[in-house]
């Protein structure tokens, strides 16, 4: 179905999120929508999917007919389905219930026939989903698969995907891309929203770039990456050159550390981390990286082995002992674990400082906040609450909250969902801090290129197995992808995925 957006404007109070956008997507094509965070991509897609309405004067034309879309239910009725970045599903419910929820019909749904439809669709796209499983036991990638076949079953002929490659594994991404190409061949219209250039370039048959609410340009393959970047940011952005690490004393030493939780066991992990070094942890989500990094932070107690921080044995000591030793942990969920929603930036900086008196010195806090906002380039004011900041700025605020002196920074998905500019900025700040304080960094990322670009050495995780430290400079994305998938491991022959 051809999709045409005509003269779409959208204001939120003073912010002008979409300025007169005209876009036309042909049936059977994969349209990429590129733009940095806050460029207006999400707003435009929410208008098309009925979540919000455009300002008067705009028009949406589907397959030649002008349509009015007032709600997501209207949207799916006319054939527009959207896959949201955080899947809008019901985690404690079963896959089959999630699948059939929202489909109209009689009082008692015919589960047997729904189940058959589900299995047929899953098979068609080679998804292995168990209809009786609970959604909270699925990975993000599998939840996307469920949502895709649900939307198809509901009759979607236009599929919008919002940042679908964030948080899924390389092999799931591959499967997703195959699925999308197949759907396009069947005549579906795919709109793929992303800030990841390589994904868009690989997949799309046409790309539109948004910047500050305006459609600044369109491109067809072959794509010119530097030109796309220039369109996205309005200027040229380059990745820094890899620099060999200047390593110093040992910061963290793990000796034969074993870890356990309900799902998996890690046996005999070893690491000798030097000051100034960056170690990346790669692996499919839930392969043990999270457990590992929490053990380095003192949040998980090892069941065997020893943990030394700057030569001191901290095995089994609580998190606060680690923190006093200069260990800082930035978890993946910024608003749940990292920051306090409802508090302003000033209040965060005051909280993070050692208290000097019983009462709060507001004026000093204000000065501190202004200072940090400037030096960390946070787009916000001292009185902005953290939840009002964009993801990139929340991450900057977290960096500004790192204590000094610092010996070890632990990061979980430090740049997930951020655009290139923010990614480059955050890494340059991190490396600065590392050099200045003589600290080391351990980070988890599902973005293989990020792992290779920014780490000196890396550890690969595969269902609880931990590799020996691997030199990042001599590893390719392909090699890393194989290791993550369980191939090319030296020791056992029973790994295949």
């Amino acid at each position: 179905m051809n999709v045409e957006l005509k003269n779409i404007h959208k204001h939120f109070g003073k912010t002008y999120a979409n300025k007169g956008i005209n876009l036309s997507v042909r049936s059977g094509s994969i349209q990429g929508i590129l733009g940095e965070n806050g460029a207006g991509k999400s707003t435009l897609m929410k208008i098309l999917s009925g979540f919000i309405q455009s300002d008067p004067g705009g028009e949406i034309i589907l397959g030649g007919n002008s349509v009015v879309i007032n709600s997501p239910a209207d949207a799916i009725h006319v054939g527009v389905g959207m896959l949201h970045q955080d899947p809008l599903d019901f985690p404690p419910m079963r896959v089959l219930d999630n699948f059939l929820l929202g489909r109209s019909g009689g009082l008692f749904p015919n589960r047997a026939s729904v189940r058959q439809d589900f299995l047929d669709l899953a098979k068609q796209f080679d998804f292995s989903l168990d209809p009786e499983n609970y959604v909270d036991a699925l990975t993000v990638g599998e939840r996307q698969q469920l949502e895709i076949i649900r939307l198809l079953w509901m009759g979607a002929r236009v599929l919008i995907l919002d940042e679908p490659t964030t948080g899924i594994s390389a092999s799931q991404k591959q499967k997703l891309f195959i699925t999308l190409k197949k759907l396009a061949e069947q005549g579906m219209t795919i709109i793929f929203v992303s800030h990841k250039l390589e994904d868009v370039e690989f997949l799309c048959s046409q790309v539109a770039v948004l910047r500050a609410g305006e459609l600044v340009g369109e491109m067809k393959p072959p794509f010119d990456t530097s030109k796309l970047v220039e369109m996205m940011f309005g200027k040229v952005v380059t990745l820094g050159e890899r620099q060999p690490a200047q390593t110093g004393e040992t910061i963290l030493a793990l000796q034969d550390v074993s870890l356990e939780d309900v799902r998996l066991k890690i046996k005999n992990a070893n690491l000798d981390l030097k000051a100034g070094e960056v170690v990346g942890l790669a692996g499919l989500e839930g392969s043990g990286q999270g457990l590992f990094i929490r053990a380095c932070a003192g949040l998980v107690r090892p069941v065997g082995g020893k943990v030394f921080l700057k030569g001191k044995d901290l095995t089994g000591k609580p998190y606060h002992t680690f923190k006093r030793g200069g260990v800082n942990f930035l978890p993946a969920s910024r608003l749940e674990e990292g920051l306090v929603p409802g508090l302003t930036l000033t209040e965060h900086f005051i909280l993070a400082e050692e208290p000097t008196a019983v009462f709060i010195d507001r004026a000093a806090g204000q000065r501190l906040a202004e200072d940090r906002i400037k030096s960390y380039n946070i787009r916000g004011t001292p009185t902005s609450t953290v939840e009002s900041l964009s993801g990139g700025n929340q991450q900057r605020a977290e960096l500004a909250l790192l204590q000094s002196p610092l010996s070890l920074i632990l990061l979980e998905h430090p740049t997930r969902g951020l655009d290139i500019e923010s990614v480059i900025y955050i890494w340059s700040k991190l490396k600065d801090r590392c050099k200045k304080d003589g600290a080391a960094i351990i980070f988890i990322s599902s973005d293989l290129e990020e792992v290779l670009q920014y780490s000196d050495r890396l550890l690969v995780f595969f269902s609880g197995e931990v590799s020996e430290p691997i030199d990042a400079a001599t590893t390719t994305v392909e090699q890393l992808g194989q290791l993550i998938g369980g191939k090319g491991w030296p020791q056992k022959g029973d790994v295949n995925a």
Binding site: P72, D89, F90, M93, D261, V262
Partner: protein, 332 residues
């Protein structure tokens, strides 16, 4: 104790659990939609009083029960309006209503204190009541007890087996996801809160026109039932079948306290009267034990098959509240 007195006692447990079941299932429906109706304790007292008063004045049991349901629904409507439309704290409004309705019941109920009025009579079901053991246990009850059986089944059927019931689960779990699937979240929340309120309002007359017939003001012994029902809602994991089990367990423990009093003379009677409460707490702990870290550790050390089995068992026992409980829904 011979078999007959035991059967009569256990049949009494089923009857005594009926009002608790109404209240717990009403609360379950409301909370499934995401609205906590904390007014329950006051609502039960107020509807017990007014149900009795209406039945006494009009000499109609039916009108008494209807009055209870209407008042329960109206109180719930206040909760719904304050929390859904005005987006105020459900806890605050619920608490205030719980206190107000209780005092209102005592104050307005004065003229009906201690008068004897109409009450439900046992209605043995022909044929079924003649079956040995099962008959006297289940089928020589009052009408309200039969209705409680039906309500348990219907509530369970509705929530877990029907299309609107699935949507109800969705609304309480993630309203935004229910919204994109076509649900009118706030309207549905109103509907379920009010229906839940009517069910809670059925609990009062079930006491004052049946289980504990009459209105005795502050010594009616009904104060506190609402809070117990609230905890049984949690114990029941927002599942009508489990909630019913919790209600029966509580009524049974209370009965046991009474029966054991003459036997265990060395135990102070107060201990036996209070025992059901800590026992309920213990059960609650047991139900949610799977979340404890040490349990996870112990499980991790077990062999694979045992571990999987135990994990499944704990998973089935675990009850997590609807994720959006108490959270107002706004489009975007």
């Amino acid at each position: 104790m011979n078999q007959e007195t035991l059967l009569v006692g256990l049949a009494g447990v089923l009857a005594a659990a009926a009002p608790i079941i109404f209240a717990v299932l009403g609360e379950t429906l409301s909370e499934r939609a995401g609205v906590i109706n904390l007014s329950m304790n006051g609502t039960i007292l107020l509807t017990a009083m007014s149900g009795f008063a209406v039945a006494y004045t009009t000499d109609s049991l039916l009108l008494g029960f209807l009055a209870g349901m209407v008042i329960g629904a109206l109180v719930a409507l206040v909760v719904a309006f304050a929390s859904i439309t005005l987006k105020q704290s459900q806890v605050a409004i619920g608490f205030v209503l719980a206190l107000t309705c209780r005092d209102l019941a005592y104050f307005l109920g004065n003229p009906f204190m201690g008068v004897s009025g109409p009450r439900l009579q046992a209605m043995p079901i022909p044929a079924l009541s003649a079956i040995p053991i099962i008959g006297p246990l289940f089928f020589r009850q009052e009408l309200s007890t039969y209705i409680s059986y039906i309500v348990i089944f219907l509530a369970w059927l509705w929530i877990f087996r029907t299309r609107p019931g699935l949507m109800l689960q969705g609304i309480g779990e993630k309203p935004a996801a229910a919204y994109i699937r076509g649900a009118n979240v706030n309207v549905m929340r109103y509907v379920y809160t009010v229906i839940g309120g009517a069910l809670i309002g059925l609990a009062g007359p079930t006491y004052s026109l049946g289980v504990r017939a009459g209105w005795m003001g502050t010594i009616s012994g009904l104060d506190g039932i609402g809070w117990i029902a609230l905890s049984i809602t949690i114990f029941g994991g927002w599942n009508p079948a489990r909630a019913a089990f919790g209600s029966y367990l509580f009524a049974f423990l209370q009965w046991l306290g009474l029966v054991l009093q003459p036997v265990l003379t060395q135990v102070p009677s107060q201990v036996l009267q209070v025992a059901p409460f800590p026992l309920m707490i213990l059960t609650l702990l047991l139900v949610n034990i799977g979340d404890a870290e040490w349990v996870e550790r112990t499980l991790a050390a077990m062999p694979e098959t045992t571990r999987k089995f135990m994990a499944k068992l704990l998973r089935a026992m675990r009850a997590s509240p609807p994720a959006a409980l108490g959270v107002p829904f706004e489009r975007d």
